[in-house]
């Protein structure tokens, strides 16, 4: 965890305690300060920690804004570190579900951990609003392991991300020949599967490969890609593995386009991949927070969180937190009330758009998918893909 974030959390906790203390001491004289608790569930440690660490400031900022406006109703945030790991999430979710103080989950960040958390959260009626879990199956009415009725997400799913990934990968390439690689996770395998028909339409598929997450050596995949004559590699997986894979590709002499989904679009990607990351094209169903808010609001975000440049999914995490906070504004403070509020309500997104969920938790009308490019060791936003 970076020092700024630690400082912010320490301040938030200290403020919470201080407020609690003030509330207790003044209880006899005045009305007590009431608290309501949300959880943020995502990777805060582990190989994919940066995904969650990038998002968390969005939730902290939204809550800080709410707390400033509502001194008598303070929102507390509990961090549930599921490490983007389904097994960790399955062990952690019952504890979160059983904590009756927690009335909603901002999360999960990853699709696999969402799927494994559903049994506990559905049984407990604990509503979830995810800022970044994009696997289609999570809201698929036909999927047995969908998150209905408690799961919602404020971003476009992989049905929208997959064509954007193909489009961005093929941009400027004559006779696109795709090689699609996934990491066998719920997210990666799903995104790759949805990309295939679009890749076929845009050109041809030279090959596909599923390489388990955590693989150290990608040289055989590199050899296959080189032998296939592919000129575009699409990767559906997460940052830590992408860094190893892209290094292997470039060191192995592959000179074509590399494009990847939002799992790779984390602020630590350029430092992990080094020079092999130059020119890598990325997509994500997100528009950077700093492009959507005023300079004053951005300054307030930096002051509150200590983060100068908001990372990926700060926008959607801010929106996800605000879905819950809007329900608090409507005096809904328990799980059934919040669930009902989310299902039937319409919420304001930071971009000015309206957020309303369909029956299975997807955002009605979709949401934009952004295009990004790694240049000079920095991930830059290009525009809507």
């Amino acid at each position: 965890m970076n020092k700024n974030l630690k400082r912010v959390l320490a301040v938030a906790i200290a403020s919470g305690l201080a407020l609690g203390t003030v509330g207790t001491t003044q209880a006899s004289a005045k009305k007590k300060v009431r608290t309501v608790t949300l959880a943020f569930q995502g990777p805060l440690t582990g190989p994919d920690a940066q995904l969650g660490q990038d998002q968390l400031p969005g939730a902290l900022f939204a809550i800080a804004e709410y707390n400033a406006k509502n001194p008598k109703r303070q929102v507390l945030l509990v961090k549930a570190d599921s490490q983007c790991d389904g097994t960790v999430a399955a062990n952690l979710a019952p504890g979160v579900a059983n904590d009756k103080k927690i009335v909603g989950v901002i999360g999960t960040s990853c699709s696999g951990e969402a799927r494994n958390s559903f049994p506990a959260y559905i049984a407990a009626g604990l509503p979830m609003v995810s800022p970044s879990a994009t696997a289609v199956g999570l809201t698929d009415p036909k999927a047995a392991d969908r998150g209905f009725p408690i799961f919602h997400r404020v971003l476009a799913n992989d049905k929208f991300q997959a064509p954007a990934l193909v489009k961005v990968g093929a941009k400027g390439v004559t006779s696109p020949k795709f090689y699609i690689v996934d990491d066998q996770t719920t997210y990666g395998a799903g995104l790759a599967e949805y990309a295939k028909p679009h890749a076929k339409k845009a050109g041809s598929i030279a090959g596909t490969e599923s390489v388990p997450k955590g693989t150290a050596d990608y040289s055989s995949v590199t050899s296959k890609i080189k032998a296939s004559g592919a000129n575009i590699v699409l990767y559906a997986g997460y940052t830590a593995d992408a860094a190893k894979f892209f290094k292997s590709l470039r060191d192995g002499g592959y000179k074509g386009v590399i494009a990847a989904g939002d799992g790779v679009n984390t602020s630590d990607f350029p430092s992990l991949v080094g020079s092999a990351g130059e020119g890598v094209r990325l997509v994500a169903p997100d528009v950077p927070f700093d492009l959507l808010v005023s300079a004053e609001k951005l300054a307030a975000f930096t002051k509150t969180t200590g983060v100068k440049i908001p990372g990926l999914y700060v926008t959607s995490t801010y929106d996800a937190a605000n879905v819950f906070l809007s329900c608090f504004d409507k005096k809904k403070y328990n799980r059934p009330g919040i669930q009902n509020c989310i299902t039937n309500g319409t919420f304001d997104g930071v971009s000015g758009s309206k957020i309303k969920f369909d029956r299975y938790g997807d955002i009605i009308g979709g949401a934009p998918v952004g295009e990004f490019l790694v240049k000079d060791g920095v991930i830059g936003y290009i525009g809507i893909a």
Partner: protein, 317 residues
């Protein structure tokens, strides 16, 4: 099944398989040396490897100040930086392996404890190291800097003879030859072989058992440290659990070749590296582990003691 890749990329798969296999071999030598002497598996060896990889990063990033974003080094500074990283990794791993021996094995051995007790204490040390590093690093992956520019000597039938790959191959061969010579030709090597044949007789012959066992752990640490250096040089990344998969692979290599057998560890590693490469290329990466273990079971069914059979120390090879 994709056999076309074998025809077009055969040389490349062989080269990469040999490089990966030799890294397995170096770690496998750590397992096999200890087994040869104590008839016990040093399960902490995978974490010794992990610590070795972080040592290389520490030297390169913190001591030498070469940030991940910096350009590669050249000339004498490069040679000195690589030599320092290699020596540091080997030294730290050797010291750690000796510490493991003192903590997890020596006292239990002195008290005549059950062999399983030592096995469990080694697993305990392994978990302690792994979890400590997990907490210390927040479980995050760490990228290594590119000290060595990955230029190529040339290509042959799709095989790219890159400097890092070639360095790992030749240095591993040299380390193996030196180790063989040491075990077979030196006085201390003879002592190791004597202990592996019979602890009791070795004691009667005046051999300092503790010294020999510690030395054996140190040698295992040295080869494992070298593996850590070559791993970072080629793959340029590490994480707290990097030793788990590589440790399993190296242990499999040692079993495949014949545990306790130096030649077995060496060729077992090579065989495993090549099997993994070809299985990934032909059947697909998702079947790599399955194929490797099918091969292992098949070999053990035919030759239960592994390809090279009994301990090399006993056969005096």
């Amino acid at each position: 099944m994709n056999f076309s890749v074998v025809t077009s990329q055969f040389a490349s798969l062989v080269l990469q398989g040999v490089a990966l296999g030799l890294i397995y071999s170096l770690i496998a030598l750590g397992y096999t040396m200890v087994y040869g002497v104590l008839r016990l598996i040093n399960f902490a060896n995978s974490e010794v490897f992990m610590v070795g990889t972080f040592t290389v990063l520490f030297i390169q990033v913190t001591v030498l100040g070469h940030a991940v974003t910096r350009e590669p080094m050249h000339g004498w500074p490069l040679i000195l930086a690589l030599a320092l990283s290699l020596i540091a990794a080997m030294g730290v791993c050797a010291l750690l392996a000796m510490l493991v021996e003192v903590v997890a094995y020596r006292r239990l051995r002195a008290k005549g404890a059950n062999r399983l007790a030592s096995l469990i204490s080694a697993i305990g040390v392994s978990i302690f190291l792994s979890e400590s590093w997990r907490i210390f690093t927040d479980s995050r992956p760490h990228a290594g800097p590119r000290l060595l520019e990955k230029w190529s000597f040339g290509e042959f039938h799709g095989a790219n003879f890159r400097i890092d790959t070639m360095m790992a191959i030749f240095a591993s061969l040299i380390i193996y030859m030196v180790l063989l010579r040491f075990v077979n030709g030196s006085r201390l090597g003879k002592a190791i072989r004597a202990v592996s044949m019979s602890e009791e007789n070795s004691l009667l012959m005046g051999i300092n058992l503790n010294r020999v066992v510690t030395l054996t752990f140190a040698i295992g640490g040295l080869t494992t440290g070298a593996a850590a250096f070559f791993y970072i040089t080629i793959y340029e990344n590490t994480v707290f659990n990097v030793g788990f998969n590589l440790g399993i692979a190296a242990f499999t290599a040692a079993i495949l070749g014949g545990i306790g057998n130096l030649r077995g560890a060496f060729f077992g590693g090579l065989a495993l590296g090549l099997t993994e490469q070809f299985a990934s290329a032909i059947i697909g990466s998702q079947w790599k582990a399955v194929t490797v273990f099918i091969v292992l079971v098949f070999v053990l069914l035919i030759k239960p003691s592994g390809i090279f059979g009994e301990a090399v120390q006993q056969t005096r090879t």
